[in-house]
């Protein structure tokens, strides 16, 4: 928590200080990958340590091979009636080996009509994408899929 506030303050300060030139932002002063969090710690932070069940109700679509690790498409769909009593409360997208394993936390409501979310994420290398889902009754479901990241090509 502290680190995030530090980054916020740091970046706000540099945004306001018009006179600050890039050269004055020495590497040693810049925030390191401020938001480092391993997959296990991220899952615990999200679930509060509650049990998570692998579920076929969560379908995760990712490419087998990512042409480019900087833009990897991710689609999550959770089977759910999306009624006031039974809906997908949140979809969390995580990447198992990124320094910060968190990608996005999406809080849905019945008005969404479907338990669906899609985005594009950065992957630092070959790893698993994890879809962690919180249902309105407080239960957690998840599924994961591996993505092979090829770093190559000309240009």
């Amino acid at each position: 928590m502290k680190r995030r506030n530090f980054i916020k303050g740091f970046c706000t300060a540099s945004a306001l200080a018009v006179a600050v030139s890039p050269s004055s932002l020495l590497a040693k002063d810049a925030p390191k990958s401020g938001n480092k969090l391993s997959l296990d710690m991220a899952i615990t932070a999200i679930t509060g340590g509650k049990a998570v069940a692998e579920s076929k109700k969560v379908s995760l679509t990712v490419p087998e091979i990512a042409e480019n690790g900087a833009v990897v498409p991710v689609k999550v769909h959770v089977e759910s009636p999306m009624t006031d009593n039974d809906y997908v409360k949140a979809i969390h997208v995580l990447a198992s080996k990124n320094g910060n394993s968190r990608c996005a936390d999406v809080m849905l409501t019945p008005l969404n009509g479907k338990g669906y979310f899609a985005t594009r994420v950065k992957l630092g290398g070959t790893q698993d994408i994890v879809a962690l889902v919180e249902m309105s009754d407080g239960t957690f479901l998840k599924t994961s899929k591996p993505v092979k990241v090829t770093i190559g090509g000309c240009g």
Binding site: I7, K8, P22, L108
Partner: protein, 112 residues
């Protein structure tokens, strides 16, 4: 750099009725800098600069909120569904870790 950020809201399909569940796609031009990359010219680390919160609202009432991290791609894309209740206005409000606030709206016009 006071220019508003460029973004787009798209509905899919383009033609829909009240009661249909459509896709609401949001795409925005933003560097999503992780804070770990070096500027090739200066050798310094480029400061983290990424969208961290997004709220999708219909006529001012939020129906989806997102917490976003620097691990989302540059010029990011976000997609959720909406079960169209009536005609109205969709607004996407988003902030980034520097405190910069932006907003984009699009009219929701169901046929019939």
């Amino acid at each position: 750099m006071a220019e508003a950020r460029k973004s787009m809201i798209k509905f899919k399909p383009k033609k829909f009725k009240v009661g249909d569940t459509i896709k609401v796609d949001f795409i925005v031009i933003h560097p999503m800098e992780t804070g770990t990359k070096k500027d090739k010219k200066t050798g310094n680390i480029k400061p983290a600069h990424y969208i961290d919160n997004i709220t999708f609202s219909l006529d001012g009432k939020p129906f989806t909120t997102m917490k976003v991290w620097e691990t989302v791609s540059t010029n990011p894309y976000f997609s959720v569904n909406l079960k169209v209740p009536a005609k109205g206005k969709i607004t996407v409000d988003y902030t980034d870790n520097t405190g910069e606030k932006n907003t984009k709206s699009k009219k929701l016009k169901p046929k019939g």
